[in-house]
């Protein structure tokens, strides 16, 4: 499995990187493609809204559900009304405020994990691809082994042992299980760039390894990394919510989307549909926005896949 997977993703990145190597006006083309695409506009506006909710929730809902007195118990499970179109949660908080203030919990973990996986993936992928030989064998075997452990199952074991789960434990666990795919893609991309003539030329002209890596190899691999990181952001949001839903992520009384869905699941069957539908909608729209953005970027960067 592993060899073929790596081969496949290497093949895909090669297309991306050959294009960027061969055609210096690539970014101009990309901009042209993006500006004309309505999907790009819709998804980037959504992403901006989501990011602003994550970092400045007070812009969207004044009172945090965590302030004392924000959640009177008599409001528990009250259905949507004109004043509160999203209704109230099981704890009696305003649903809209809970969702807005919960955004950061999901998005910040996803950003941290994405940053972590990009750093690890780019470093190890470049090392493996550029150095080859022993370093490559070691790194590739380690990624193989990580691929042998299904993501949710692996993350579950460690989170279950942690007595306390918060932003940092979630980030650590998701990063540990998330770095391998970017490493593989990066490795493939570096190997294909390394064989290009201009890299040989640079080396013949006496450029140092670091210079070659920075100037040629990273520049050529940036496109697939951006695409994967954008899509990764979306899927890490989904992964965090899944783990929280399973009971090994954020714990009450933290306000988070996964917890709201888990709370809403049984109550929805009892008739309180809004407890399930609104948190679900937030998760889906957020994940969708990032995935669409990544998709549109991929299409613009590599027209062949369209």
């Amino acid at each position: 499995m592993s060899d073929t997977m790596a081969g496949q993703s290497a093949g895909q990145t090669e297309n991306l990187s050959t294009k960027s190597g061969a055609n210096r006006s690539l970014w101009g083309d990309v901009r042209y493609e993006l500006v004309r695409s309505p999907v790009f506009w819709i998804s980037s506006i959504l992403v901006l809204v989501i990011l602003s909710m994550a970092f400045f929730p007070q812009l969207w809902a004044q009172t945090s559900p965590n302030t004392s007195g924000a959640c009177p118990l008599q409001n528990a499970r009250v259905k949507p009304s004109a004043d509160h179109p999203f209704g109230f949660t099981n704890a009696g908080c305003d649903m809209w405020a809970s969702l807005v203030w919960g955004t950061g919990k999901s998005v910040i973990v996803a950003i941290l994990v994405t940053a972590g996986t990009v750093i690890l993936g780019v470093t190890f992928g470049t090392l493996a691809g550029y150095l080859g030989g022993f370093a490559d064998t070691i790194i590739s075997r380690i990624t193989d082994i990580f691929f042998g452990l299904p993501f949710i199952l692996g993350a579950l074991v460690f989170l279950a042992i942690f007595p306390e789960r918060n932003i940092w434990t979630l980030t650590a666990v998701l990063t540990v299980f998330g770095w391998t795919s970017l490493t593989r893609v990066m490795r493939g991309s570096v190997i294909s760039t390394k064989q290009k003539d201009y890299v040989d030329a640079a080396r013949a002209a006496g450029a140092s390894d670091l210079f070659i890596i920075r100037k040629h190899i990273l520049a050529n691999s940036i496109a697939p990394v951006i695409v994967l990181a954008t899509i990764g952001l979306g899927s890490f949001i989904g992964a965090e919510a899944t783990l929280t839903f399973l009971g090994v992520g954020y714990q009450r009384p933290t306000v988070s989307w996964g917890l709201l869905v888990s709370e809403g699941q049984n109550l929805a069957l009892a008739g309180f549909w809004h407890l399930l539908v609104f948190p679900s909608a937030f998760i889906v729209i957020t994940v969708l926005a990032f995935i669409l953005l990544g998709d549109v970027l991929r299409d613009a960067l590599d027209p062949r896949t369209r």
Binding site: L149, P150, P163, G238, L276, L288, I291
Partner: protein, 334 residues
Amino acid sequence: MGRYVARRLIQFIPVILGTLFLLHLLSTLTIQVVGDPVRALFGENAPPAAVIDQMRADYNLDDACLEQPGNPCLGLFVDRLGQYAGGDFGINFRGRAVTEMFIERFPVTVRLTIIALVFETVVGILMGVLAGLRKDKFADNFVRFFTVALVAFPTFVFGTLAQLFIGLQLGLELRNSDWAPDWLGQMLNVGYNADYPWLSLVLPGVVLGSFSLASIARLTRTSLIENLRSDYVRTARAKGLRTRRIVGIHTLRNSLIPVVTYIGIDIGLLLGGALVTEGIFNIPGVGQLVWLAIQSNDTPVIIGVVTILTIVFLVANLLVDILYAALDPRIRYE
């Protein structure tokens, strides 16, 4: 072919040992850092020290190396491997063998996974082929949008929504009506029903498979489009073959090669997703075992079941790899 299988089997040994070691290493390190789960289980009102010590001995947590952060506990790993080889994957906090509980529940999970696999491959490939053949037409755009949207639904979101809107609201209507056949109502149910061991798993199976369905559809589409452009398709056309034959026989077989590779990886996703789906739909499978263990903080069960599932995944992957070689002669003769 025989040599290929032999080589894959030899490669399999380090991978499975490595994966089990990784699982061992990460759990040991965590225990070293955060303290053992027995104490965490009881929290403040802990029983006498003797009881705790007895439990720790039972759960293999009394090894001194578990108190030395950074120690990989190789001795413990070797012991564990020995136990795994003898079919011993630990006991739960009430003293039942994990292996026994696993075997009891595994058939349900297998049925659920089979339904999901059949659904996602059949529908996924059909959608992918349709989109690939009608590239840039309505069908293609529809499939592309639909698959992106599907991927945005994490399994637990899709599962809870499907349970509410399909299982409850639509399904109840059907089950109470005179006109709808019994099987239809059972197919769209809120939970597992032992009287309908396959039918009542259809909705959960569809939920479980829908994430991968999107990947399979996209993979098939891309690979079909690529293959339709290839030189050998041009040759097939020059041979005066029917379009149906060119697509159905010459191109499809090549296009399905990456799909088969994907299915290998996907079994891991499905086993993880089964946990969520079985929890939501109350299906008495292996996933529900883990789900319940999480709620009762029964760490040995979680570790034991995850270990078995990992082995199941790796073996399934090996089988898929061999199937892959059957499809692609270039691999076979490498």
